[in-house]
């Protein structure tokens, strides 16, 4: 495939970046396209966007810029993978960004108090798990609506993060035990960032869990029809608890990447983070009503929003526009999904018949 790309590049001369974006991975993309199902729309949008940016911004398709997109979107990706489980199961975790602030703070404080690297990481993961358990138990066993619970914990976690450090940012750059996380989040092997490798492993594992485990099947069944899942032997309460625990762990992992990149644990929360995470999942074709979708689509959703963001930056558009763009993309993507489900986009089907 790479040879094919090279030949084309030679033929086409200097203005060659767009074809190389299209034809090289073209055959691969055709396969992905067929398998993409609900996320076909965002895949098409992403390809068009990449082609457009490749033409208009020469810097876009450079390796440096691509690794930059990966690095700056890994936090969103990890949170979005967790959120995908929750949304497929028919729920929503509004507290995810706040939970990440608490776990990041935990990690920073443990380091500050001279704890070892493993203890600090383990502590952050444990706290993430605990926050997930709090959400999960209130929702599955106390039977309070997930909207109410996570709206409440959104606020509680947010304030807890502030209380923990009296509102101050903990600078961890100079702490020796911070080095392992710093090296992992910022290092690379053979030009490939460790974070990219981690992201790929995470996504593949999550996709396999959803597709090939009884737990994954239970998550889909729960979001598709709760009563049918219950009557057919799915442990509804435990599955609900589990997806919120996964979201809590995802928040802890995301916060480690965040601290690693920023070399400091901040109690403040990026107010657009939650929206970006949920938007990425929904744009990726996971149904907000549950029961359909997957992490593959979520990756596309994260990439789509990340590439748009990158394009805006490269085009020197004010970052104030980011929220507007994300919001519009979300509504359009979900509207296209609704239109498809209701059969308003018949063109394709007519031809097939």
């Amino acid at each position: 495939m790479s040879q094919d790309t090279t030949i084309r590049r030679d033929d086409a001369g200097p203005a060659s970046s767009p074809p190389s974006g299209r034809s090289g991975p073209g055959a691969l993309l055709a396969g992905v396209w067929r398998a993409s199902g609900n996320s076909t729309g965002v895949l098409a949008g992403l390809i068009l966007l990449v082609i457009f940016l490749s033409i208009s911004q020469p810097i876009f398709l450079t390796w440096g810029n691509i690794t930059n997109i990966v690095a700056s979107n890994s936090v969103v990706l990890v949170l979005a993978v967790g959120a995908t489980f929750v949304i497929i199961a028919g729920g929503l975790d509004l507290s995810t960004a706040s939970a990440a602030a608490v776990t990041g703070m935990t990690y920073g404080l443990l380091l500050q108090h001279g704890q070892g690297a493993l203890v600090a990481v383990g502590g952050a993961l444990l706290v993430g798990l605990l926050l997930g358990v709090i959400n999960g138990v209130l929702i599955s066993y106390v039977k309070i609506s997930f909207l109410v619970v996570t709206l409440g914990t959104l606020s509680v976690f947010e304030s807890a993060a502030l209380v923990m450090s009296q509102g101050k940012t903990i600078n961890v750059f100079a702490i020796e035990n911070f080095k392992p996380i710093y090296n992992i989040t910022n290092g690379e092997v053979a030009g490939i960032p460790y974070v990219l490798i981690f992201d790929i492993v995470l996504v593949v594992v999550a996709a396999l869990v959803l597709r090939y485990t009884t737990f994954g099947r239970g998550v889909y069944a729960l979001g598709s029809n709760r009563e049918a899942a219950r009557l057919n032997g799915i442990n509804v309460d435990r599955t609900t608890l589990s997806v919120f625990v996964i979201a809590g762990l995802a928040a802890a992992v995301a916060s480690l990447i965040q601290v690693g990149r920023l070399t400091g644990a901040s109690p403040g929360i990026d107010s657009t983070l939650l929206l970006t995470v949920v938007a990425a999942v929904l744009i990726g074709g996971t149904a907000y009503t549950g029961g359909a979708g997957g992490v593959g689509g979520t990756v596309l959703g994260v990439l789509f929003l990340g590439v748009i963001q990158n394009g805006l930056t490269l085009s020197s558009v004010s970052s104030f526009w980011r929220g507007t763009v994300n919001g519009v993309v979300l509504i359009v993507a979900v509207a296209l999904g609704v239109a498809r489900d209701r059969g308003w986009l018949r063109l394709n089907r007519g031809k097939k018949a």
Binding site: N232, G291, K352
Partner: protein, 507 residues
């Protein structure tokens, strides 16, 4: 027949193509004022498509629709409504949070100037309902009414909107026998007043008691139009299925063996089922009859662990924990609930994933689903006769009969000692029904103890060794042998006791 009046609606040579299927192929029919036409055929034969085209919900790819003799394009349901074509389907279209009166006049509320004339609306609604002999408070919220009453309100709305053609699409499938009879009487009354009626139903007795002719479709094509009730049922079924259905309910070659299921004083926590006791033997089918609200549905739910309950249930002598579907399933009680959409289907999942849902503990090791999954699904699809182009197809794209076969198949494949099947053939066509009966017979021959809860008495009489009848939340009688007739079952279901004499055998 009624050749002297011109047809109100006529369909000529209509065809309709969906992706991969020709749903209708050159189909024709006509309905005259005052005529009741039954539209019959198996699931997937094109009846629903044809009725949707007449109701404006679908557009034909070819052919014409004539209303009052003039070629008409029925662009949408609103246009159909203006032409006096009203569709009543199994799924109600009432607004549950509004009152009965508001629903009857929904979309055409009487006004005085710019304001709604509430007083007139209520008076007129009361008159309309009284004329139809429907006794309901016009100020009651629709959501608080029983399904039967909601259906009657729906009919009242259709009638009061001066319907000229009523299309009943399986309108009776969720109603009790009594409510069905009331509804059919309303329909016949409307026909006498000159309303044309097109009815779709899988229940033969309804068609024979109400319709004057039957249009038979098969695979989207018109097989023929025959007069009713003059045409024998066997001939009509043959036209629908395309072959002889000799042995509709099938038969089994086995005698009941050991007692497998023992039920002692089983009662549901919500009080809908009073303490009930009975036993079912291996190789035996026990039917449960009763009106809607008699507790028969709750009995199935309690046995399957779907609702909280008290009492004692034993399978092969081992007590089963109540109120937990997982425990009931692992103890060997396979439940198929009556409401497929609400409690059985995963609408967003494939046929394969719907079927494997129940098998997950059996086909997985350490929480990972075995590779044998695809093979098992293909085998089950073949064994239980589920018609689908691929196991990966969304289950909601299958016909109702095939959805039901997939749901039954996933439970039957477990090989449970006890099966509790609630309305196993609701909304299923004759061909699929016969296949389901054959599956049940085979299951029983293999030694299962089967409990069938059904509103269709012929089905119970055709399948069961004996039938228990529920009345006001408790089992009030048992019929078997010579006593197993519709007359006996109905008598107990309506009054709680038989009018003739006491039963010979104690229950």
């Amino acid at each position: 027949m009624n050749a002297n009046t011109a047809p109100l609606v006529e369909v000529r040579g209509v065809s309709k193509r969906y992706p991969g299927v020709l749903a209708l192929d050159d189909a024709s029919l006509s309905v005259r004022p005052g005529e009741v036409v039954a539209l019959t055929g198996e699931n997937g034969s094109g009846k629903s498509t044809l009725s949707k085209i007449i109701g404006g919900a679908e557009q034909p790819d070819g052919g014409v629709v004539l209303v009052d003799g003039a070629e008409t394009v029925i662009a949408n349901p609103a246009t159909a409504l203006k032409l006096g074509i009203v569709m009543i389907s199994q799924e109600l279209t009432l607004a549950p949070e509004l009152t009965v009166a508001e629903n009857v006049f929904l979309g055409r509320l009487p006004r005085r100037g710019r304001f709604i004339d509430w007083a007139t609306m209520r008076t007129r609604a009361r008159e309309e309902l009284a004329a139809l002999d429907v006794h309901v408070d016009v100020d009651a919220k629709v959501a608080d009414l029983s399904v039967e009453l909601q259906q009657e309100v729906e009919i009242a709305r259709a009638v009061s909107s001066q319907a000229r053609l009523l299309i009943l699409d399986e309108a009776t499938s969720s109603l009790s026998e009594h409510a069905t009879e009331r509804l059919l009487e309303l329909v016949r009354e409307q026909a006498r007043r000159g309303v044309a009626v097109l009815m779709i139903s899988h229940r033969m007795p309804e068609l024979y008691s109400t319709a004057g002719s039957a249009v038979v479709l098969r695979d989207g094509r018109l097989v023929g139009t025959v007069p009713l009730p003059a045409t024998p049922e066997s001939q009509l079924v043959r036209m629908m299925v395309g072959r002889e259905l000799n042995d509709y309910y099938g038969s089994r070659d086995c005698t009941p063996g050991e007692v497998v299921l023992q039920v002692r004083d089983l009662a549901s926590a919500d009080g809908a089922l009073a303490p009930t006791s009975f036993e079912v033997r291996s190789g035996e089918i026990v039917g449960i009859a009763g009106l809607v609200g008699s507790g028969k549905a709750q009995l199935g739910m309690a046995l399957g662990g779907a609702v909280a309950a008290s009492g004692e249930v034993r399978v092969n002598g081992t007590p089963v924990a109540l109120g937990d579907p997982r425990r009931a399933l692992s103890a060997g009680i396979g439940l198929v609930p009556d409401d497929r959409k609400r409690a059985a289907l995963l609408p967003t999942r494939s046929v394969a994933h719907n079927m494997t849902l129940t098998w997950l503990p059996k086909i997985s090791r350490f929480g990972v689903v075995s590779r044998s999954e695809n093979r098992r699904v293909r085998e089950a699809i073949a064994e239980y006769g589920v018609k689908t182009s691929s196991p990966a197809k969304l289950i909601t794209q299958l016909s109702g009969g095939n959805q039901q076969k997939a749901i039954l198949g996933r439970i039957f494949a477990l090989g449970c000692p006890v099966y509790v099947l609630s309305e196993p053939t609701r909304g299923v066509d004759v061909g699929s029904k016969s296949q389901i009966y054959a599956l049940l017979q085979r299951l029983t021959e293999n030694g299962a103890a089967v409990v069938i809860i059904s509103s269709e008495l012929p089905e119970l009489i055709g399948l069961a060794d004996r039938v228990l009848v529920c009345f006001q939340g408790a089992v009030h009688g048992e019929c078997s042998g010579e006593q197993l007739t519709e007359v006996h079952l109905n008598a107990i279901a309506v009054s709680g006791r038989t009018h003739t004499e006491d039963f010979g055998e104690p229950s």
